[in-house]
């Protein structure tokens, strides 16, 4: 970013440009890189906290057959801004399993640009939890540059207050990307009518033997399921919390057990904080 993005820039159409404008130009994009040798595995744990503008550009190269396990938590203090870019290249047969938990600050944007070579595999679980007037977004560009690669993106968002949660997911399949198997699933749960969810799936396909699935839904808690729980003795607040946690669980499903338990505990705490005022308003 050398100039402040504008509303007409497609990739920023749902962003909080006012918030970004306030921290701009505030400093250069901080570059970091990680290189994983062929056949090796490594972790990326980016837990963002604090009040400063986080504006990192992280470049990660995963060698042939290598593995990247990533956990990115955007938990900045209220009012802060994050615009993080991650560029990940997966060589032949490499794999990446990334979980994003985007919940802090005033404006939090996590963008991934992933290139997959032959037989590579990319799994993404994205969770956005927002309230008040937060704007939180996950932007992904997944490039199937080689044949036979797989990508799975599961993004779930729970929004209260007047928060805005967005997922912009582009899948670009090159001519060489035959036998691509790509899937995206975005679901948004609006706890209050003032919240907004945006979904922009985009498929650009130049090969003719591919599978590219995508789905997006925005809704409220299932009233029949809530009644079922209440009719069995579960008080309304507890029923809402249970269903909301269940809603987000898909996004964390692909994590290893111990990591998932830690993530679920974190998510439960965030949901409790979000649900308390929302339920008081609904009562």
């Amino acid at each position: 970013m050398s100039t402040l993005p504008k509303r007409k820039d497609e990739a920023w159409r749902y962003s909080d440009l006012a918030a970004l404008g306030e921290v701009w130009p505030g400093g250069e994009k901080i570059g970091r890189s990680l290189s994983i040798p062929a056949g090796q595995a490594a972790r990326l744990d980016d837990v963002l906290a604090g009040t400063g503008w986080r504006n990192d550009a992280v470049a990660i190269d995963v060698g042939a057959g290598g593995t990247l396990i990533g956990f990115i938590e955007q938990g900045l203090a209220a009012g802060a801004v994050a615009t993080q870019d991650y560029a990940i290249t997966l060589a032949a047969g490499a794999a990446a399993n990334i979980v994003i938990l985007n919940h802090g600050g005033r404006f939090g944007r996590i963008a991934l640009d992933v290139t997959l070579h032959e037989g590579a595999d990319f799994q993404l679980g994205g969770v956005i939890i927002g309230g008040d007037t937060q704007t939180l977004e996950i932007i992904t560009t997944v490039r199937h540059a080689g044949p036979g690669a797989t990508s799975r993106q599961v993004v779930r968002t729970v929004l209260g207050g007047r928060a805005i949660g967005s997922y912009l997911g582009k899948v670009a399949v090159a001519r060489e990307g035959q036998k691509t198997d790509a899937a995206q699933s975005f679901k948004a749960l609006l706890l209050e009518r003032g919240a907004t969810a945006n979904a922009k799936p985009e498929l650009e396909i130049f090969a003719d033997d591919v599978k590219c699935a995508h789905g997006a839904t925005v809704g409220e808690l299932d009233k029949t399921a809530l009644f079922y729980l209440e009719s069995r003795g579960v008080p309304p607040q507890q029923a809402k919390a249970l269903l909301t946690r269940a809603f987000l669980s898909d996004a964390l499903a692909a994590m290893a057990d111990d990591a998932r338990e830690a993530a679920e505990t974190r998510v439960t705490a965030l949901l409790d904080a979000l649900l308390a005022p929302a339920l008081a308003a609904a009562a």
């Binding site: 029949t224 399921a225 729980l229 209440e230």
Partner: protein, 248 residues
């Protein structure tokens, strides 16, 4: 245990129950039969407290308390169990988690100690086995991938673990094959006791061959028009509801 007096209720401005009277004592099994649209499901939803169903007159007392003044979860803790006609699927919440949460929520509301993990598993395993549901199925999300019969068996598993005082079973026999019907009926019969009452809402007489009721009521156009013993069900099967409607 349950006393319904002159109950009028409806949904979306339309009155469906038009002055229903019914008394159910502990230890009794009552069957309510009637044609489609008579108000059978409306009655069960009003007893459970489902939103959207409006009571416009009359009263319902349960164990001496005003049932209509209680929220759905309070009614459950007081001992009311509604076996749904169309059990709901809840992705992301396992049957075990659902049932354990329900049991402990009820116990907490009653001031009782919560069930420990081990205690709960023992109850759940026993109930599943008695109702012919493989325990593995209880680890799945609530009713997800369950056939109609399996969903009804699952309702019975929940009933066995929650041990309600009043079992309101809304068309529990619909969608059941012969074996499932027998298993579900045995489940209902096992729960019969001096302290418990059961209200069976059904179209068909065959359930009543297995779960022999003490009383059979005919519900037509929002009112109970006739009450009799178990043999009334056979009479209905032979003659249909038309005769009843004229006599009403």
């Amino acid at each position: 245990m349950l006393k319904i007096e002159n109950l009028t209720a409806g949904i979306e401005g339309k009155t469906i129950l038009k002055g229903l009277n019914l008394t159910v004592n502990a230890g009794e099994v009552h069957a309510i039969m009637g044609p489609n649209g008579a108000g059978k499901s409306t009655l069960s939803y009003v007893l459970a407290g489902r939103a959207g169903y409006e009571v416009t007159g009359g009263s319902v007392s349960f164990q001496g308390k005003d049932l209509l003044a209680m929220a759905p979860h309070e009614r459950a803790a007081a001992g009311v169990f509604l076996g749904l006609q169309y059990p709901v699927e809840i992705p992301g919440v396992s049957n075990l988690m659902f049932l354990r949460t329900a049991l402990n929520a009820q116990r907490t509301l009653r001031g009782e100690k919560e069930a420990s993990g081990a205690e709960f598993m023992k109850l759940a395993k026993a109930a599943a086995e008695a109702l012919g549901l493989p325990f593995e199925m209880l680890k799945r999300s609530v009713n997800q991938g369950f056939s109609g019969g399996e969903k009804k068996r699952n309702e019975m598993v929940q009933m066995a673990v929650l041990e309600p005082h009043l079992c309101v079973l809304d068309e529990t026999d619909s969608g059941l094959d012969i074996d499932a019907l027998r298993v579900v009926s045995e489940g209902i019969n096992r729960m019969r006791s001096q302290e418990r009452a059961t209200l069976l809402i059904t179209h068909y007489q065959r359930l009543l061959d297995y779960v022999v009721p003490d009383f059979v009521h005919v519900l037509i156009d929002g009112r109970i028009v006739r009450t009799g013993g178990a043999e009334l069900a056979r009479e209905l099967e032979a003659d249909g509801y038309a005769g009843m409607a004229e006599a009403a």
